[in-house]
């Protein structure tokens, strides 16, 4: 499935005019989340850590509460909206950094495996098989047990979550591309391998890699929120969407929105990225046909 023209990426953005409503809504949500990620501290109406013992479990305004706390307050009297904005920011930063590390690491290893072949290839693919055969959350928890939870360890950990998928995909695509005429042509002109890979092959295989990124991104959000939900990811005073769900969990019976609001943000974000990714994949497929 070699993609043989770079301007496809441009065509992709201009053809977005005919996108169905669900895709446009998904895009709108993603833009909003991104804006929250950047401007959360400015948007938050209160200090998200400020506790107010006399104002615990205030109802959100849509259930008859006051507009001072639009989404009510939690078990320590903290403003839920402010917490939600800051949590979205943290989760987004972890997911973006994690996805990028994962994509770079996996792609680099895929290129390495394809370039050297033989033992190096077997070694990298052997590791990727081993990684793929154990649920990553088990591996992640084991590492956290041994090294403790620290934001940097945590981001690094999320960043190795599915490198093997990029590695395998890249390896296959590179091996395929290397047999194409254009790579051979550049090689004959005497270009160095690194130049061939980065300047000529990478632009041609970037499409499937971007699609892989959209598949991976929601999974990384789910991994982050899952680990934080277990109390082993992001630690207070930082907050994340998973941590908010975990903290609200004990109060489901009296204040269900404490779980539901961060839960809805997680759900809508993963859903939006999945929809956008599916759409993107259909576009690529259509171009291949």
């Amino acid at each position: 499935m070699a993609l043989t023209s770079l301007p496809g990426a441009l065509r992709l953005s201009t053809s977005g005019m005919r996108s169905p409503l669900s895709i446009r809504l998904a895009m709108l949500w993603l833009v909003a989340v991104l804006a929250i990620g950047i401007f959360a501290p400015l948007l938050a109406p209160h200090d998200y850590l400020h506790q107010s013992p006399l104002e615990r479990f205030l109802q959100p305004w849509f259930l008859g509460g006051t507009p001072t706390h639009l989404f009510g307050t939690d078990y320590l009297g903290r403003d839920v909206l402010s917490n939600l904005l800051m949590a979205t920011r943290t989760s987004l930063v972890v997911a973006i950094l994690g996805s990028l590390i994962c994509a770079l690491l996996g792609t680099a290893l895929g290129f390495t495996a394809a370039h050297f072949g033989g033992t190096v290839d077997n070694l990298i693919m052997g590791f990727s098989d081993a990684m793929a055969s154990v649920p990553f959350i088990i591996f992640a928890l084991a590492v956290l047990a041994f090294f403790g939870s620290d934001p940097l360890i945590f981001i690094g950990l999320v960043g190795v979550a599915s490198w093997e998928r990029y590695a395998r995909l890249t390896r296959g695509l590179v091996l395929d591309a290397a047999t194409n005429g254009y790579a051979e042509a550049v090689r004959i002109t005497g270009a160095a391998p690194l130049r061939i890979y980065l300047r000529h092959i990478l632009p041609n295989i970037i499409g499937p890699l971007v699609v892989q990124l959209t598949i991976n991104f929601p999974e990384i959000i789910l991994l982050e929120s899952g680990l934080s939900f277990l109390g082993l990811g992001i630690q207070p005073p930082l907050t994340s969407l998973g941590l908010m769900v975990a903290e609200g969990r004990d109060y489901v019976a009296i204040a269900w929105w404490l779980c539901a609001l961060p839960g809805i943000v997680i759900l809508l974000t993963t859903l939006a990225v999945s929809l956008a990714g599916d759409h993107l994949r259909d576009r690529f497929d259509a171009r291949l046909r």
Partner: protein, 310 residues
Amino acid sequence: MSRFLANRLLRALITLFLTVTFVFIVLRFSGDPAEQMLSPDATPEAMQAFRERWGLDRSILEQYLFYVRNIASGEFGFSYANGRPVIDVVTERIPKTLILTGAGLVTLILIGVPAGIAAALRRNTAADRITMSLAVGGYSIPSFLLGLALIYVFAVELRWLPSSGSGDWRHAVLPIATYGLAGAAGIARFTRSAMIEVLDQPYIRAAKAAGIAPIEIVFRHALPNASIPIVTMLGFNVAGLLGGAVLVETVFAWPGLGSGFVRAVSQGDLAVVQFMVLIFTAFMVSVNFTVDVLYAVLNPRIRLSDHGAH
């Protein structure tokens, strides 16, 4: 077929070997194992005995061989949290997890595969779109949120089922439903695309042209061919169930391997963590190997490959 299976068996062994080595390296790099594995108030004699038993006073290579030999002979030490043998602490939780994940797997197949087939047969109709929208939604919701939502509806509001624990069958309903609904979403999408691909093949069109009844086409000609990728996908689903057990068992306070693992991790009970990682890996390796065997049995191109058909 035998060459294919030998290849897969070799891979399974490599995975086990890498995991054992990984655990060994991590354990050595994260501090003095004697201090980590024993409680802080252990006597110097106990520490010394531990170091001797695990060969910590020797070279790294000898330590590694020692470690592998101990594992091979079932020596896993004692739980730091309660002093009981790690083997007992872990094995008593295995049946609890097998019940939930087994029932969850059956549920997700029973919901997901028929939904996917139905959607493929009614491609691009409203029924197809609704099924697939639900599947995309189910695929995007984290299992712990789905579990909490089910608790809210069925335990808090309706009061039909208990919210946590593991007394009788009623405690198992909500966790099994969580596994089933979350897993069915992915398998429904996958079954749909596998079926659509098969239904577009010339031999299906030929069967239709020959006037074979639609139901026979679906179940005798299309489904067996679509089942090859579906079975492979189910292998991933088992991995998902096992990983999901960590979250779902915690949500429902179900005393299985998943919640036990989380507890051991939070308590820093490294002896238990180490053994559980090995158990999880061994389990996944055998599941993947089973999937490979099934795959070989279902796929005639591999089944017959030793007879020169490949």
